[in-house]
Symmetry: C2
Subunit: 242 residues, 2 copies
DNA sequence: AAGTGGTCTAGACCACTAT
DNA sequence: TAGTGGTCTAGACCACTTC
């Protein structure tokens, strides 16, 4: 039943998560780690790793000496900002069925900001992909991704409407590892407002982000704009080092 | 030299972190886990836990089969949103010496939002503390914290200018465990603008947060406003479950 | 092939909570 | 005092990178 890959830990995590969402634990109390280990036939370390991940994502909480419990409040957060991996997924988490429209798809000389973010020379080229994510016909998110042209493979006929992490894996031979994101409040200018289908001057959020691959190289510079009336971001803040 | 409490893991983490910031590793390469374990006289598990925390906070990155390396880019993030524990600390991380001014400090009947956030009855009382955090005489952050009156201890003469997590520990016998925060772009109204020393209509960020204690009870409802020209928030985004 | 990080085990002892 | 989660150890084997 339980085999390798995904790891034992992830299987245990998924198993417990399923029981949590199905409300199978009496009074929201999760069995002791020792029992879980015996029942599932794995070591307590594996159980603890799985519970640690569930705790980190807010699904459970633990009290030393007392036990482990389901976190009802934490379960209700749909998308946690620090664990977002594609805005397409965010829309799905909010119950939308996202439609992707590619507005721009060109290889251009870098501008200053992108050159600095990706450590490129002044005259270098980047592929600029501007996409609009919509729920049915309502625009929700506008994203601009910039990828160094040197990463592009020669074959064209590429599906620019993929989530950017998939595009990078599929056509650039690189795998995103993490983003560093800066959060900026914006008032949409005429161009953005028109694309997002709101009035000029409407308030929204913007993320300015740099994506790094498994070798810790900056591989994508992204700027995204969100309609605050349709999408709110939440996250869990914890004490550093905990 | 190395003893309990703080944990071995945290001591190892601090030790390695210090060597990182002092640039003591050749080519940004951190020694193999086995060497570290032997050198420091601890098990590899302890080393791995410490490295795991450093990786999580962006100080290092690891490549399976290759090694562990210093993450220069990650080291430059001063405050990571998901690990912020007090806005006083954020100002210090940005090189400011924060001055705290308590604007309001009253016990009042709850409003609807706070009652919902803290699961209080309609007529219940809350202590409302409004504070302005300033760099010298320049306002940077305005926070409003609301704490259920039932948590307050009878003694008065309380230092309302403490960071809220310290206030809760000191005077309410409760310890904050985590916050759930919602990020909202705002245009400051006349009142906020005046308090923050900017023009009405200036753009800024607002966080709407609920703090939970070690028993997973909601103990504080906070609303904070930030001057975007003086403070920018960054965070690291990773794939969920990683 | 050698070396590195990733996963997993089995067990010991400690710190804290409940009763 | 019994039971729970928290920390730490020692060691095995696997997956991947590098040469």
């Amino acid at each position: 039943m339980i085999t390798r890959n995904p790891s034992l830990t992830d299987q245990v995590k998924a198993h417990i998560k399923e029981q949590i969402v199905n409300d199978e634990f009496e009074d929201g109390r999760i069995p002791p780690e020792a029992s879980l280990a015996e029942d599932l036939g794995v070591s307590r370390t594996t159980i603890r790793d799985a519970l640690g991940k569930l705790e980190h994502e807010g699904a459970i909480y633990r009290k030393q000496g007392a036990g482990t419990f389901v976190n009802e409040a934490g379960l209700q957060i749909k998308s946690r900002l620090e664990e977002i991996w594609s805005y397409e997924q965010v829309l799905e988490d909010h119950g939308y069925k996202p439609v992707v429209k590619v507005l721009t798809d060109e290889v251009l000389p870098v501008n200053e900001d992108t050159a600095a973010a990706l450590h490129l020379e002044d005259g270098a080229d980047v592929l600029v992909i501007e996409k609009l994510l919509m729920e049915n016909s309502t625009p929700v998110v506008l994203t601009r991704n910039r990828i160094p042209a040197t990463l592009l493979e020669v074959t064209d006929r590429k599906r620019k409407n993929l989530p950017i992490y998939e595009y990078l894996e599929e056509y650039c031979g690189t795998r995103l590892s993490y983003y560093v994101s800066e959060i900026v409040p914006v008032s949409f200018d005429a161009d953005l407002a028109k694309k997002l289908g709101v009035k000029k001057g409407t308030l929204g959020l913007s993320f300015i982000e740099v994506g790094f691959d498994q070798n810790n190289e900056a591989v994508v510079h992204a700027t995204s704009y969100f309609r605050d009336d349709l999408l709110r971001f939440r996250l869990i803040r914890r004490k550093a080092g905990a």
